[in-house]
C-alpha cells in the first residue's frame, strides 16, 4: 500500500475509534449532571447512586476519549501535511478554539469533579459537572465546524493556492455545521440513552438490589432516546437537504441513484451489486417520489444521478489528476468521482437502521418493565445488551458514510461554493515514507485494540458490580458530606 492508502486507513481507524468514546461522553455527562442536580435538589439517595454509578462509567470512558483525541490533533500535521498547509489559515482556528475555550474547561473541571466530592461545597461541585458537560458540547461544536468546512468550504478566498480565511463567523455559522451539530448531539444522546436503558434493564433482569435506581435509569433513558431519535430524524433530514445541494454526488451514491430521476424514488433496500456505477444488477425496493421529497420538500423535483453527475464533475475539476510527483501513481490518471458505492449506500442505511433499532429497543424494554414487571427469559438479557451496541454502530456508520462519501475530495467543491477552494485527498497527504505511516498505523491499531479490551473489561466489571461497586457503605445521601473532615484532602483516589 502507498502512503495515501495507509494514511486513510490510519485516519479512519483512529477517528472511528475515537468516536466510540466521544458520543457516550457527551451524552452521559449531561445526563449525569442532570442526575446530580436531582440529588442536590431532592437529597434522594437514589439519585446519588445514579450519579455515582453512571459517573464512574463516564470516567472510564472519558479517559479513552481524551487520549485518543490527542492523536487526532497531531495527525493532520503528521500524515496530512499538504492538507494542513492548504487549509491551515481556516482549519486550525476552530481546533485551537476547541482547545482554548472548551477542552481546558473539560479537563480542569472534570479533575475538580472527580477529586472534589466531599471537598467542594455541594453546589460548587455540581457546577463543576455542568461546566464539564457543557464544555464537551462546545468541543463538539468547534470540531464539527472544522469538519463541516471540509464538507462545505465557506468564509474563505483562494490566495496563492491556499485557502485564506475571510470570515470566521461564516465558518462557525456554516449551515452545514448548524445541521451537523444537532445531529451529532442527538446521536450522542441516543448512545447515552441506550447505554442507560440496556444496562439498567439488565440489572433489573438479574434482580440485583437497588431496583428503584435501575427503574429510574430505564425511564430516563427511554425518554431521552425518544427525544434523541426525533431530533436525529429532523436534523438528518436537514442535513440530507443540504447534501443534495452541496454534495450531489454523495447523495446520489447514498441512494445508488444512477440515472437522474424525476420524481425520484427512495431506495430502502437493494438486492444485487451496488458496486457498479451503471447499476445494472441492482433491484431496489423503493418508495416512489420520496427521494424528491427528501431533497427539495416536494414530490416532483428532479434528482441528479451518478451518470449525469460524472461529466459535470469532470468538466469542473478535470477528467485526470494533474501530473504531479506528489500524487504518486495517481499522477495523470483518470479521476474516479464516484465514492465507494457499497460503503456509502450501505453506510447510509445502516446508520438509519441501527438508530431506529436503538430507539425501538428502548421503547420495547421500557414497555416490558412497566409497573414493576421484569421478563424472565434469557432473550431479554440479549435484548438489553444488544440495544446498548446499536447506536454506537449507527454513529460509526454515519461517520463512515459522511467521510467516505466525499471522496475523492478531502475538501469538497460545492456547486456555488468558493472558486478553487477544494482539494483531492490524494494531494493532501504528507511526503512521508510508507514505512513511517505503516509503523504508526500498526502501532496505533495494536494499542487501540489492547485498550479496547481493557475498557470493555473495566466497564463490564463496574456494570456487574452495580451500585455496591461505587458506593462503599450504605449511608444515606445526606450524611455523605457530614463524613468529610478538615483533613480529608482526597476522598477519591486513583
Amino acid at each position: 500500500m502507498d502512503v495515501l492508502d495507509l494514511a486513510r486507513w490510519q485516519f479512519g481507524i483512529t477517528t472511528v475509534y475515537h468516536f466510540l468514546m466521544v458520543p457516550l461522553t457527551i451524552g452521559l455527562s449531561l445526563l449525569v449532571a442532570g442526575m446530580q442536580t436531582a440529588w442536590v435538589r431532592t437529597g434522594d439517595r437514589k439519585y446519588l447512586a445514579m450519579t455515582k454509578f453512571w459517573g464512574k462509567l463516564l470516567l472510564i470512558n472519558f479517559a479513552m476519549g481524551v487520549v485518543t483525541g490527542i492523536v487526532q490533533e497531531f495527525q493532520f500535521g503528521m500524515t496530512w501535511s499538504a492538507y494542513s498547509r492548504f487549509v491551515g489559515d481556516v482549519f486550525g482556528a476552530p481546533l485551537a478554539m476547541e482547545g482554548l475555550v472548551a477542552f481546558f474547561v473539560e479537563s480542569t473541571f472534570l479533575g475538580l469533579w472527580i477529586f472534589g466530592w466531599d471537598r467542594l461545597p455541594k453546589k460548587a461541585h455540581l457546577a463543576c459537572v455542568w461546566a464539564f458537560s457543557l464544555a464537551t458540547m462546545a468541543s463538539a461544536y468547534f470540531i464539527l465546524a472544522a469538519n463541516s468546512w471540509m464538507q462545505h468550504p465557506v468564509g474563505v478566498e483562494l490566495v496563492d493556492g491556499r485557502a485564506r480565511l475571510t470570515s470566521i463567523w461564516e465558518v462557525l455559522g456554516n449551515n452545514t455545521v448548524l445541521a451537523a451539530f444537532p445531529h451529532t448531539i442527538f446521536g450522542a444522546f441516543a448512545v447515552a440513552a441506550s447505554f442507560l436503558v440496556g444496562i439498567a434493564a439488565w440489572h433489573l433482569w438479574r434482580h440485583t438490589d437497588e431496583g428503584p435506581v435501575w427503574r429510574a435509569s430505564v425511564k430516563v433513558g427511554t425518554w431521552v432516546g425518544v427525544v434523541a431519535f426525533t431530533g436525529l430524524a429532523i436534523s438528518g433530514d436537514q442535513q440530507a437537504k443540504l447534501m443534495f445541494e452541496q454534495q450531489p454526488m454523495k447523495m446520489a451514491a447514498a441512494e445508488a441513484l444512477c440515472h437522474t430521476e424525476s420524481p425520484a424514488a427512495f431506495s430502502v433496500f437493494a438486492i444485487g451489486d451496488v458496486t457498479r456505477p451503471d447499476c445494472e444488477n441492482v433491484k431496489s425496493i423503493t418508495v416512489p417520489a420520496l427521494l424528491s421529497f427528501l431533497a427539495h420538500n416536494d414530490f416532483t423535483t428532479e434528482v441528479k444521478g451518478i451518470e449525469e453527475l460524472i461529466p459535470q464533475y469532470q468538466e469542473k475539476y478535470g477528467a485526470n489528476y494533474p501530473v504531479d510527483p506528489r500524487l504518486g501513481e495517481l499522477s495523470g490518471m483518470p479521476i474516479d468521482y464516484v465514492p465507494n458505492l457499497p460503503v456509502t449506500y450501505w453506510g447510509f442505511r445502516l446508520m438509519i437502521g441501527f438508530g431506529a433499532i436503538a430507539v425501538g429497543a428502548g421503547l420495547v424494554i421500557q414497555w416490558l418493565v412497566r409497573g414493576g414487571r421484569v421478563p424472565r427469559g434469557r432473550w431479554f438479557k440479549w435484548l438489553t445488551l444488544g440495544s446498548v451496541a446499536t447506536p454506537f454502530l449507527g454513529n460509526s456508520f454515519g461517520w463512515i458514510f459522511t467521510e467516505m462519501g466525499r471522496q475523492p475530495f478531502v475538501v469538497v467543491p460545492n456547486p456555488g461554493g468558493v472558486d478553487g477552494v477544494w482539494m483531492f485527498t490524494a494531494r493532501a497527504v504528507s511526503s512521508s515514507t510508507p514505512g513511517e505511516v505503516l509503523t504508526s498505523l500498526v502501532a496505533l491499531t495494536l494499542v487501540y485494540g489492547v485498550l479496547a479490551c481493557v475498557e470493555v473489561f473495566l466497564i463490564r466489571r463496574y456494570v456487574r458490580a452495580g451500585i455496591a461497586g461505587v458506593l462503599p457503605d450504605d449511608k444515606s445521601g445526606s450524611d455523605e458530606d457530614a463524613r468529610s473532615e478538615a483533613d480529608d484532602v482526597l476522598s477519591f483516589a486513583y
Partner: protein
C-alpha cells in the same frame, strides 16, 4: 502580529513545560519515591486533579501552531514522524494508566499500570525535548517544507541532548514539586533526592542552552541563559533551606528563562532548514493571514485569562499537602 503569535506559542510551551513538567517528573519518580502502595497513591494523587488540565497546554500549543503557523505545524509534525508516534503512544498509555490503575484492586494490575506510567512519563518527557530541540536546531527541509532524507533525520546528537535536557529538568522539577506537595517520609525523600540529583540532572539543560547560544545566540538570549543558571542555583539553595515553595517557583523561573532563550534564539525562524537557510520557515513566511491572527488574538484575549483563573482555582482547592493518612481504603468491585 506574527511575532506576537510566536510569543504566544512560546508562552504556551512554557505553560506546558512548567505544568506537565512536574507531572512527568512525578510519573518518573513513582518507583523511586513510592515504596509502598499507599505512597505511590500519594504521589499520583498530588497530580490527580491537575495532570489532564496540564496536558491541554500541549494540545493548545499545537493547535495554536496549526492556526497561526500552519506551515510550521505541517513541516515539524511530518518531519519528526516516528518519534512523535512514540510520544503519542506514551501520552496515551500514561493517561489511561492514571485513570485505570485504581479501578481494580490487584497488585498485579497496579504493577502493570505503574510500569506504563513510568515508561510513559520518561518517553513523553524525552519526546517533548526532542520535538523542541528539533525545532530550534532545525530539520533537513526542502523548499516545500518537506523533510529530505531518512525517517530518523530528527535523531541527532543535538536533539538527543534536548531530549535528555527536558527529561532531566522534569525529573528534578517533579522531585521539588513532591517535596512541596507531600508530607512525612515521602516529602523528606523527595527533597533529599532532588538535592542529590539536581546537579547532574539539570546539567544537560545548561549544555543545551550553551550549544544553542554558541550557534544562534544574541545578547539577550545569553542573558536569559544566565538567568536559567542562576535560577537553578537559587532553587537548589532554597531547597537546602527547606523553602520548597520558593524552590518550586524558581524552577518556574528556570524553565521560563530557558524557553525564552530557546525561542529567542530561534526567532525570526520557526523551523530552520539545515540544508539551505533560504528554505527555513520564518515567522513571516509560515504565518496565517493577518485576519486569522486577529481572530485568534481575540479568542486568546478572552480565553487565556479564564483558563489561568480556573486552573489557578484548581491548584488552590487542592493546595494541601498529601500524605498516606489521606489515602482512603481501596474500594473497587
Amino acid at each position: 502580529m506574527e511575532t506576537f503569535w510566536f510569543c504566544v506559542i512560546a508562552l504556551l510551551w512554557l505553560g506546558y513545560l512548567f505544568l506537565e513538567g512536574f507531572d512527568f517528573g512525578v510519573g518518573m519518580l513513582l518507583p523511586v519515591l513510592g515504596r509502598s502502595d499507599d505512597e505511590r497513591r500519594v504521589l499520583i494523587n498530588t497530580i490527580g486533579p491537575v495532570w489532564d488540565g496540564n496536558e491541554v497546554w500541549l494540545l493548545v500549543a499545537v493547535g495554536a501552531t496549526f492556526a497561526a503557523f500552519p506551515a510550521w505545524y505541517a513541516a515539524l509534525l511530518s518531519s519528526v514522524y516516528l518519534p512523535l508516534v512514540l510520544f503519542l503512544l506514551a501520552l496515551i498509555g500514561r493517561g489511561v494508566a492514571f485513570e485505570y490503575r485504581g479501578k481494580v484492586d490487584s497488585a498485579r494490575w497496579r504493577r502493570v499500570w505503574d510500569a506504563v506510567i513510568v515508561a510513559g512519563s520518561w518517553t513523553a518527557a524525552l519526546g517533548v525535548g526532542l520535538l523542541l530541540s528539533a525545532t530550534v536546531f532545525g530539520m533537513p527541509l526542502d523548499a516545500a517544507g518537506d523533510r529530505v532524507g531518512s525517517p530518523f533525520a530528527s535523531i541527532r546528537w543535538e536533539t538527543l541532548l534536548g531530549a535528555v535536557a527536558v527529561a532531566g529538568y522534569a525529573f528534578v522539577h517533579g522531585a521539588v514539586f513532591l517535596s512541596l506537595k507531600t508530607e512525612g517520609e515521602v516529602r523528606e525523600r523527595a527533597r533529599a533526592l532532588a538535592l542529590r540529583v539536581a546537579p547532574f540532572a539539570l546539567l544537560p539543560l545548561l549544555v543545551l542552552l550553551l550549544t544553542v547560544q554558541l550557534r544562534f545566540g544574541s545578547t539577550w538570549t545569553w542573558g536569559a541563559s544566565i538567568v536559567v543558571a542562576l535560577a537553578a542555583f537559587g532553587a537548589y539553595g532554597r531547597l537546602v533551606l527547606r523553602r520548597e515553595g520558593q524552590a518550586f517557583a524558581l524552577m518556574g523561573v528556570t524553565v521560563a528563562a530557558a524557553v525564552a532563550a530557546l525561542f529567542g534564539a530561534l526567532y525570526p525562524d520557526v523551523l530552520p532548514s539545515t540544508l539551505d537557510p533560504a528554505w527555513s520557515l520564518t515567522v513571516a513566511g509560515a504565518a496565517s493571514s493577518p485576519y486569522t491572527l486577529t481572530v485568534m488574538t481575540w479568542v486568546a484575549a478572552f480565553g487565556t485569562p479564564a483558563v489561568l483563573v480556573y486552573q489557578g482555582w484548581t491548584y488552590w482547592v487542592f493546595r494541601k499537602r498529601v500524605g498516606t493518612r489521606h489515602i482512603p481504603r481501596v474500594h473497587v468491585p
